[in-house]
């Protein structure tokens, strides 16, 4: 099976297909092929690994004063498209069971080193999330299994296959039940394959399981529309968005796509005068809550009541059935009015896994006539197919000894099932236990057979996240270890002699034929699809299914029962699959700015009453002890904890980090819910646990830093909220004349109105620029290395603060204070407006750090590479393969900072020169800009009056951070506009 590649993004967008002849994936890096001395002796810097492609390794130091002999080892046969030093991009798909994203994989010398967003995808549109960005590091995780395991002993595939074959056949013959437990599978081919597998082995049942489930939505829709689906939501069409515990900008369903839609609807560039308004009712301060116009902190158990009230208010106006319910704890007058005014262009969503609540939401949306406009039941979202009831039944059956075999694929219920203890007990009674996990996770550790799956970057696959939208996953590297793709294993156990890529191609051909999709020549179409990564086919127009009236009901709020706990998925590590990813562990939470831990967020009032402070340790239900973080915006009567921590078998970075909060899930109405369990908290006196926060002061102190206005104010005066800019423009004077640039002047502009603080850019930057991971202790010492950070400020009242997210990186000031003070001229200004940092000239006086008012310069306090004290990816030969060879790894004692991705600038400049043309706007995209799901970042030439960044800089909302210092930054910000009334 051939792969489609292109040399650059442009070629990709221009769709110049080029099909290759070679049948096998290219020769790629394999750690097996290296002998130990080569790995140990190699240079750690820029060219540390140009394995095989152009291998340069320091073999021996002849003497201390002589240069080492470096070898240049060419390939025996150089494939045409493999040019050492040139990156190839492959379109692929990210799907980990929970999140979907269409991506491009950047490979250098056949190593995937960076994930970019695929701009051709109609839903993610080039955006990614932090998890997607960081997923490339999982490929180079030392915790990955290198061989299949049989009862804890390394073995080979022949043994495994023999064993599995015998057991499967024996069990089939005996007619004993086997369960194939998988995560949500959105791959049509895999689904067909599993179908064939279960028909070959009729004793195999297939159960899909999601640790954080949404089966209530499917159930509610089944009741209301007779369609057990999750409908497609269109945030871009909604003028009013009302969310109930649904973190649609953070973790709910398709956050990347929703962020794209949501932010596109709220842009005010180019004189646009309207934007959507959003309301959020939630039990903890979520990323969405921090971005909405109106936010209400509610107890989880109040949600049903509030929704019923909202339904009643609307029903009263529309003239539908109303129910007699107690009064709502929050005033709903405003939101009702807004919803009614925008009938058909509004959207109410809830993230609670409760059928009653979802039915109320359906009813409200129905009354508002949103079906067919902002909600589409005909193109359902295929994510979150987990069936909670089947899972509960499985647990029960296992315990009663009815299950003879379990095949676990991409799930880890031994850790993340709310009832994991019972599950594990049941699992012990199962005779044939097999896991496809690629690491020895909690479930795999309990299994007799472990058949490690490929990383998704080594796999073939397809996905249908939304009906009608298909996307392709293709390998970008030969398998690093002796692993095998799940689907290939199934094929082998079915006795089929074909690999999954062939199977998939055939399946597509079959499906396309059977669905009468017009694609022309299939081979051509297939190659084109592999090049694009996505394929959308036209669906027949169908009317929305009819709404069947159902009686609505709700659970009464819990009264005085103590704290209701709200569990949530962290923006960084999600539900626990990425707990061993040091990039994500070190990513500051967008709200709390905490890294490397989970903690109990309590409200300010509760903390005062119970004398709780940051880092105090409390015991929860006697289950575990956890530190406290006093969180503004946490509703009274609630507390929140992130799930995904407390892994016992994650790997060297993630094992033992934080506490496992899954057991605290709330089983209500038969479905496990994240929120609502009542917990008892006991303070452990005198015990504290350090939390590594990257920001400890949350108030702007009245300084004009993150500027804000409201939509009415903005419409009256475009400079609203930005008056300081006019004042400073007028009053800033200088003895020196302004620097004049010729040809190129790089600049960046960040629209605070779009930025949601999702931190995708932070990880994208880390991945692009080889930023070191430094561990919890050093983060606690306030030495985080991220070149780009997202400052978060609170304003207004403590109980429900206004939240500001502000990405800050080097501002590339024309009058840079840092440049003046470096004694050795290691940092100075380029003729293209870049504040340059020459690492090799730096002697580390740190004067520039002091003199940078933005504090964006980072010092290498320690040697972060090859240092056992910082045992993360840069201390492992495997982990180092993720490093970008175009960017140097910095030595101890030098200062580093954002370079505006100068390596990309230089690359694209060279490309333009080679093609004998001028640079085009949009040619160069910085890492943070490329994958921003909100398109908040623009980068380009400030001299080019046609460039997007120039136009953005000319907006009235534009200001520079700390412009009163007259540092003349090349980076600018646009005032945030909240769509509130005053």
């Amino acid at each position: 099976m051939e792969k489609i590649y292109w040399q650059s993004l442009e070629k990709h967008t221009e769709q110049q297909a080029s099909v290759l002849e070679n049948k096998k994936p290219l020769p790629e890096f394999s750690i097996e092929g290296l002998d130990e001395s080569e790995i140990k002796g190699k240079s750690t810097r820029r060219d540390f690994l140009k394995m095989l492609g152009f291998s340069v390794s320091a073999v021996a130091l002849v003497s201390s004063c002589q240069m080492p002999v470096r070898k240049a080892i060419p390939l025996l046969n150089q494939p045409e498209e493999l040019i050492p030093g040139i990156a190839n991009y492959f379109a692929s798909t990210f799907f980990d069971g929970t999140d979907y994203c269409s991506i491009l994989v950047k490979t250098r010398e056949n190593r995937p080193i960076k994930i970019e967003g695929n701009e051709m995808s109609p839903i993610t549109k080039g955006g990614t999330s932090a998890r997607v960005q960081a997923s490339v590091l999982n490929l180079y995780d030392d915790a990955r299994l290198k061989h299949p395991f049989l009862k804890g002993i390394e073995t080979n595939w022949e043994t495994i296959d023999k064993d599995v074959f015998t057991q499967l056949n024996a069990l089939r013959d005996e007619g004993k039940r086997i369960v194939l437990l998988t995560s949500t599978i959105i791959s049509p081919s895999t689904k067909t394959l599993i179908g064939e597998f279960t028909s070959l082995y009729p004793n195999v049942e297939w159960v899909m399981y999601d640790p954080v489930s949404m089966s209530a939505i499917r159930k509610a829709n089944e009741l209301h529309f007779a369609k057990a689906v999750i409908p497609n939501f269109r945030f871009d069409k909604a003028k009013i968005v009302v969310g109930f515990n649904a973190d649609y900008l953070g973790n709910w369903l398709l956050p990347v796509a929703f962020t794209k839609q949501y932010s596109s609807n709220r842009k005010l560039n180019g004189g646009k005068k309207t934007m959507s308004r959003s309301y959020q009712f939630e039990g903890y301060l979520s990323l969405t809550g921090s971005n909405t116009d109106y936010r209400y902190g509610i107890k989880p158990s109040d949600e049903g009541l509030i929704l019923m009230n909202l339904y009643n208010e609307i029903a009263r106006v529309v003239g539908a059935t109303t129910y007699s319910v107690p009064a709502s704890p929050v005033d709903l007058g405003k939101v009702t009015l807004d919803l009614l005014e925008n009938k058909g262009a509004s959207l109410v969503v809830s993230g609670t896994n409760d059928v009653n609540i979802q039915m109320t939401v359906n009813a409200i949306n129905h009354l508002l006539e949103n079906y067919g406009t902002t909600i589409d039941l005909n193109t359902p979202i295929n994510l979150k197919q987990g069936n909670d009831e089947a899972m509960a039944k499985l647990t029960k059956d296992m315990n009663s000894g009815e299950i003879a075999g379990l095949l676990a694929y991409n799930v880890n219920p031994a850790y993340d099932y709310f009832n994991a203890n019972e599950f594990n007990q049941g699992l012990n009674k199962v005779g044939f236990k097999l896991s496809f996990s690629d690491t020895m996770d909690e479930t795999a550790a309990l299994c007799d057979l472990v058949c490690p799956n490929h990383n998704y970057l080594e796999s073939w696959g397809d996905a249908e996240p939304i009906r009608g939208l298909l996307s392709i996953m293709q390998p970008t590297i030969l398998p690093i270890f002796n692993t095998r793709q799940f689907e290939d294993s199934l094929l082998i156990w079915m006795g089929q002699n074909q690999d999954f890529s062939t199977y998939m191609e055939k399946n597509w051909q079959k499906e396309i034929q059977s669905n009468n999709i017009e694609v022309g020549n299939f081979t051509q179409f297939w190659n084109q699809t592999k090049q694009d990564g996505v394929f959308q086919y036209q669906l027949n127009e169908e009317p929305q299914p009819d709404f069947v009236e159902q009686k609505l009901t709700f659970d009464l709020p819990k009264q005085n029962a103590g704290l209701e706990v709200v569990l949530y998925e962290k923006i960084s590590i999600g539900n626990g699959k990425y707990t061993n990813n040091p990039w994500l562990l070190e990513m500051p939470d967008p709200i709390t700015t905490a890294t490397w831990d989970n903690y109990l967020c309590v409200s300010i009032d509760y903390a005062k009453q119970n004398d709780l402070h940051l880092e105090d340790v409390v015991s929860i239900n006697g289950l575990f002890e956890i530190p406290v973080l006093v969180q503004p915006g946490q509703p009274d009567g609630t507390a929140s904890i992130a799930v995904g921590f407390g892994r016992t078998d994650a790997g060297k970075a993630g094992t033992g980090v934080g506490q496992n909060a899954y057991p605290l899930m709330n089983l209500q109405n038969g479905l496990p819910q994240l929120a609502g369990s009542v917990i008892s908290i006991e303070k452990i006196n005198g015990k504290t646990f350090p939390l590594a926060l990257t920001q400890t002061h949350h108030d702007m102190e009245g300084r004009p830093i993150a500027r804000e206005t409201t939509l009415p104010e903005y419409l009256k005066n475009p400079y609203a909220g930005n008056e300081q800019h006019l004042f400073d423009e007028e009053h800033n004077v200088s003895l020196y004349s302004k620097v004049q640039y010729d040809g190129l002047h790089w600049g960046m502009s960040i629209d605070l109105n779009s930025c949601t603080g999702c931190s995708n850019c932070v990880i994208a930057c880390q991945s692009e620029n080889n930023v070191a991971v430094i561990g919890k202790e050093q983060v606690k010492n306030r030495r985080i290395m991220h070149w780009m950070r997202i400052d978060r400020y609170y304003s207004r009242e403590e109980s429900n603060p206004g939240v500001y997210h502000m990405p800050v990186m080097c501002q590339h000031c024309d009058n840079a204070p840092c440049e003046n003070v470096c004694p050795v001229a290691a940092t100075n200004h380029s003729s293209e407006g870049l504040n340059q940092m020459a690492y090799n000239r730096c002697i580390g006086t740190r004067y520039c750090i002091n003199n940078c008012p933005y504090k964006v310069r980072r010092f290498n306090w320690f040697e972060y590479t090859n240092n056992n004290k910082f045992d993360y990816n840069m201390n492992s030969d495997l982990g180092k393969m993720v490093l970008n060879p175009d960017v140097i790894v910095r030595q101890r004692g030098v200062v580093e900072k954002c370079s505006l991705c100068v390596q990309r600038i230089q690359e694209k400049k060279l490309e333009a020169k080679m093609e004998n043309r001028e640079l085009r706007d949009g040619d160069i995209k910085t890492a943070c800009q490329q994958s921003c799901p909100a398109d908040a970042i623009q980068f380009g030439n400030l001299i080019d009056t046609e460039s997007k960044v120039y136009k953005q800089v000319k907006e009235e909302r534009m200001y520079h951070l700390l412009e009163q210092l007259h540092t003349l930054p090349s980076t600018s910000y646009l005032t945030r506009v909240r769509n509130t009334e005053a």
Binding site: Q695, T696, H697, H698, D699, M700, E701, G702, R703, I705, Q778, N781, R782, R783, I784, R789, D791, R792, Y793, M806, V808, P817, E819, N820, V821, C822, P823, V824, A825, N828, R841, C842, I843, G844, T845, R846, Y847, I849, N850, N851, P853, Y854, K855, R857, R858, F859, N860, W861, F862, E863, Q891, R892, G893, V894, V895, L961, L962, L965, T967
Partner: protein
């Protein structure tokens, strides 16, 4: 001219010229006293601890200090400025009092200059140590190279620092050594030990002491002194520019150069006072370093303390009057109140309030209290640098980045190590070098001890 009727007798005890030599040189010939060994032992232990800190810092990285992304400078720069400040006393004594024709300087200036040398040596270690890549430290010199050639940034106050400190060290060392040449000759001619004769003879550069050489000596000394005089002002002005040239609130003020210079002289005189009280106690130099000397220093300290108090108030006023919210925040919320209140008020108390006790004659005459106050001044001046460096950096422009600083044991060890170095240097000076400028004391002996007025023919 020194009028003994007005100002009292400078050198007591009716000394003859040979008495002076004998008194001053006695420590060189006597067996090393026990207290010397004990103190030197302690100093060496301190130095060893400091070396451990130095070794660790260089081998592991600056990360073992308490600094962070926001506070890039801490103990090292505080100590550096503090030591440089202390070093100022020597030059100030020699130069300013020479220019002001204060005869009483003669019995003190040698020790004060020695103090300068060791303090600058101790100070100089810190900028070296605090470099992230000390092995590339030579980049700071604009030497001819094969990189283009690539030069330095002459706008950087750190570069000015390098120039200023090395000039200062060199000028002070030359001045100090030159003053000792005639005294070495005295030792050369009077000692009985052959080894000493050899060593001090070599160090005396063949001094003969005839009229012509005295003429050149005096002229050269005056020239060196005259040129070093602006250095006293410029060195600490330049050190202050490390701060005032930057944009950091609390640093970016024009008052810094005079404020730092005065502060330096203040701490220097404080240290001189401390050392002199010890010296005259240990070596019975009461006849040379008389109560009158101490009294003069305390009077000067009272005066400088008032200037310091004015400077502190001016800073506050400027912070308010400038209208810069960042500046005002640093002063009001991070110094006068807030996290670093202790440091700020210690500074005010030690530097501006306690020295005011010197207004009382009784206190001035009580050597014990004077000694204690002098220690307070040293502590207060250390805290002044702490306040300036740490409070300004810890809470600057963007509240999101604010971070606190506290030193680690390594930083404390490095500081103690330099104290050890300083003490050891001073001890060595006590032991092996003439602690009082013999020839200068002899030169003023007559006119300041006889009760008749003396008319100089010049």
């Amino acid at each position: 001219m020194y009028n003994t009727r007005v100002r009292g007798i400078l050198i007591k005890g009716n000394k003859t010229y040979s008495d002076v030599s004998r008194d001053v040189l006695r420590p060189l010939d006597e067996p090393t006293p026990i207290w010397w060994w004990v103190t030197a032992g302690l100093a060496i232990i301190a130095m060893a601890w400091g070396s451990w800190a130095f070794y660790n810092t260089i081998s592991t990285g600056i990360g073992i200090w308490g600094l962070n992304n926001n506070v890039g400078w801490g103990f090292e720069i505080i100590n550096f400025v503090w030591w440089i400040g202390i070093g100022h006393a020597g030059t100030a004594f020699s130069i300013f009092l020479l220019i002001l024709r204060q005869k009483w300087r003669t019995s003190i200036n040698r020790a004060a200059e020695a103090m300068t040398i060791f303090a600058v040596m101790a100070a100089g270690l810190f900028p070296l140590l605090h470099m992230g890549r000390i092995w590339d430290g030579f980049f700071i010199f604009p030497y001819w190279n094969t990189r283009g050639p690539l030069w330095d940034n002459f706008n950087s106050p750190l570069f000015w620092d390098v120039v200023a400190i090395s000039t200062y060290f060199m000028a002070s060392a030359l001045f100090w050594y030159m003053g000792m040449i005639p005294d070495f000759a005295t030792i050369r001619e009077s000692t009985a030990s052959k080894i000493k004769k050899k060593i001090y003879g070599a160090m005396s550069f063949g001094w003969i002491g005839n009229a012509k050489s005295w003429l050149r000596f005096e002229t050269a000394a005056l020239l060196l002194g005259g040129m070093a005089a602006p250095l006293v002002v410029s060195v600490h002005s330049i050190v202050s520019m490390d701060f005032s040239v930057s944009v950091v609130p609390g640093w970016h003020t024009t008052i810094f150069p005079p404020y730092f210079v005065i502060g330096a002289i203040f701490s220097g005189f404080g240290m001189v006072l401390t050392l002199m009280i010890i010296l005259r106690k240990l070596y019975s130099f009461k006849d040379y370093v008389t109560d009158g000397h101490l009294d003069a220093i305390t009077r000067i300290l009272t005066f400088i303390s008032l200037i310091m108090a004015t400077a502190y108030m001016t800073e506050l006023f400027t912070a308010w009057y400038s209208g810069s919210e960042y500046e005002l925040f640093t002063f009001l919320n991070n110094r006068v109140t807030g996290e670093y209140t202790f440091a700020y008020w210690t500074m005010i108390t030690c530097n501006a309030i306690i020295p005011q006790l010197f207004w009382f004659k009784k206190i001035r005459k009580n050597i014990t209290i004077v000694f204690i106050i002098s220690i307070f001044i040293n502590i207060g001046m250390w805290f002044e640098r702490y306040v300036i460096v740490v409070t300004s950096l810890s809470k600057d422009f963007l509240p999101a980045t604010w971070a606190s600083y506290s030193p680690t044991i390594i930083e404390v060890a490095a500081f103690v190590g330099t104290i050890g170095l300083f003490v050891f240097g001073v001890l060595a000076f006590f032991r092996w070098l003439p602690t009082i400028a013999i020839s200068e004391v002899k030169g003023v002996l007559k006119e300041t001890t006889t009760l008749k007025s003396f008319t100089d023919e010049n």
